[in-house]
Point group: C2
Chain length 365, copies 2
């Protein structure tokens, strides 16, 4: 029996390795939400030929990297800050905002709460409702948000519910929050997996609203969690200049700097990812929906939340069944309001998805 199996992060494969005697390289992670295409051969050759960048400090201003990101997301590089993963960017933004009281839309990724608590702020949650498929009830939410919050954080699409707000809804929300001097931080870690990304992403809104901060990264869509390369976008020159004052130099290493410049213009990789995801999302959703005792929540990104509603079955049991077959799912019981009836899986390559569906079917019988 594994301990704390519901808290395993995608990076905790080492612990599984020790607990189960399975080599971590052999485990297919349906838990990490990482694009299964991995790195392209072109990127690998590109990096291999340029490893000598390690002997130089990265560019303190990351000018080329920010320009590459600007081209990719159609945004002025001056509005972009690069950071060591989303974690550093959250810290940097919180350092500038110093929020006293933040409202998080939950259930969601736990790092926001951790970072706010570390910076001395108070965290409140507004929980979306399962009856509404965890979709945000905007009118009801705005009643709560009217209270004395100075920051609202949401993940869009949201982890683990995969619910999504449209750009129009975000625009409405930003207007309302602006009136009460409240900022909005939108984590778009998964936005590139959404088919109609432009209708969902808030990036273009930084030109209209200076109470907006957007977080993005390379860990999931670009399959590069090992790079530790994230970026933040804001139109607020006040926030940008505050961050410049205390930001540590060179938190992104030279390889990540170089890889970013390659990735953000790799249209072939992006197209292949979108095609794979569309196909596999359809396939997995159809198969899961056909399994008795499972409720499958809607998704437009690269993962899906599922509820087990069958006597004697739960996510603990399913986790254990799957990990023995070297497949790791995410038991969602550590997310507030969810419990061990909920699990999350991401869409992997077809043969892996087939194997997981087979295992889930077996476990549910």
């Amino acid at each position: 029996m594994l301990e704390h199996k519901d808290h395993f992060h995608g990076s905790d494969l080492e612990k599984i390795e020790v607990a189960m005697g399975i080599k971590k390289e052999e485990i297919v992670s349906f838990s990490a939400n990482v694009n299964p295409l991995g790195l392209s051969e072109e990127l690998k050759s590109f990096l291999s030929e340029r490893l000598d960048v390690i002997t130089s400090y990265p560019d303190r201003e990351y000018t080329k990297l920010r320009k590459a990101i600007g081209n990719y997301i159609h945004c002025d590089p001056e509005h972009i800050i690069v950071g060591n993963g989303a974690t550093e960017l959250i810290s940097l933004f919180l350092g500038a905002l110093k929020p006293k009281k933040a409202l998080l839309i939950g259930p969601t990724y736990s790092e926001y709460e951790r970072e706010i608590s570390l910076s001395g702020g108070i965290v409140h949650y507004y929980f979306t409702k399962e009856e509404q498929n965890f979709q945000l009830d905007m009118a009801d939410f705005l009643l709560e948000a009217k209270k004395d919050y100075d920051l609202v954080i949401l993940c869009n699409p949201n982890n683990p519910t995969s619910t999504t707000l449209t750009r129009k809804e975000l625009s409405l929300l930003l207007s309302e929050l602006d009136r009460q001097n409240c900022c909005l931080m939108v984590d778009e870690t998964y936005v590139e997996f959404v088919e109609d990304e432009a209708s969902v992403s808030a990036v273009s809104l930084v030109n209209e609203f200076d109470n907006l901060m957007v977080l993005r990264g390379t860990s999931k869509f670009f399959a590069a969690p090992g790079l530790r390369l994230g970026y933040g976008i804001t139109g607020s020159s006040r926030i940008l200049s505050l961050i410049k004052e205390y930001k540590n130099p060179w938190t992104i290493n030279s390889i990540a700097e170089l890889a970013g410049c390659f990735l953000f213009q790799d249209q072939t990789f992006m197209k292949a990812t979108r095609e794979l995801m569309e196909k596999e999302r359809d396939f997995v959703l159809r198969e899961l929906s056909a399994i008795k005792g499972l409720t499958v929540f809607p998704t437009t990104c690269n993962f899906v939340l599922v509820k087990i509603e069958k006597e004697g079955k739960d996510a603990d049991m399913l986790f254990e069944y799957c990990i023995k077959k070297k497949m790791m799912i995410r038991n969602c019981s550590s997310f507030p309001t969810l419990d061990n009836r909920y699990f999350r899986i991401c869409f992997m390559k077809h043969e892996d998805n087939l194997a997981l569906i087979k295992a889930i079917k077996e476990a549910m019988n």
Copy 2:
């Protein structure tokens, strides 16, 4: 004419590139203090074959990496914290200590002051004296340190003076500071360049003193500033557990994690570096000492501080003369108590050292 030429960091080659129209790849940096041997071919093949580590999160605990460091410095991995360069480690230690008043031994690297100020502490300097070749007068220093400081920081060997305290002197200092509940942070960025490293390094003292924190890295000796891989050592379980609470996960990327495991056991590279340094240090010191109008301060590491004492000549002039020949020296006028008569150079490959000596001779005539 270059602006702010005295403040150029080794990573600011981009600015030189723009200002001078010289490609940064063509500039030999005698300013960055980086080992001229660069990366070994073995390390490059090792990394090239393993670039897929980018698709995984680094190990949250960095167990293998800390073990490799532990073997390298003969220290319990439990006493080691890894971080994104010395900067993150300084922040982490300061976050645990929250020093109200710190005493820095100057002139020295400016990052300590910046980090303490950012964390809300007050910085005082004790300046070593040129008449004593900038060597610390321990008895006099202890009189000052007896005042109400809670932290002393020193760089050993010190940048830019290359002065060094022995392990025995550090042990005495630690005893004295311990009595008044004051911690000591020793930055050993350059210690591996010292021939008799064991007589200088404070690492083994962490077993005796829990008011000691040692900082080390891979930027200089291992020629890998682009990795952003540093480590800190302390025997204080209080500091270690505090840091664990608020440390961001995964600030070292997967490539750096992997490269570290290779570097710290690469005896061939270490031996070659020491041999090169010994030879080139002797050569450059002999040549510089023979140039009229230069005072060359003693050094046992990989760089040397030099003072220009000739009418009409200064480091501004010398910087400009050398950069036109694609060689960058460090004008030391930004260091408190020094001015534009002082410059610092590190020892590079023989042909580069030859070229620099030639240029300095020309410029001094």
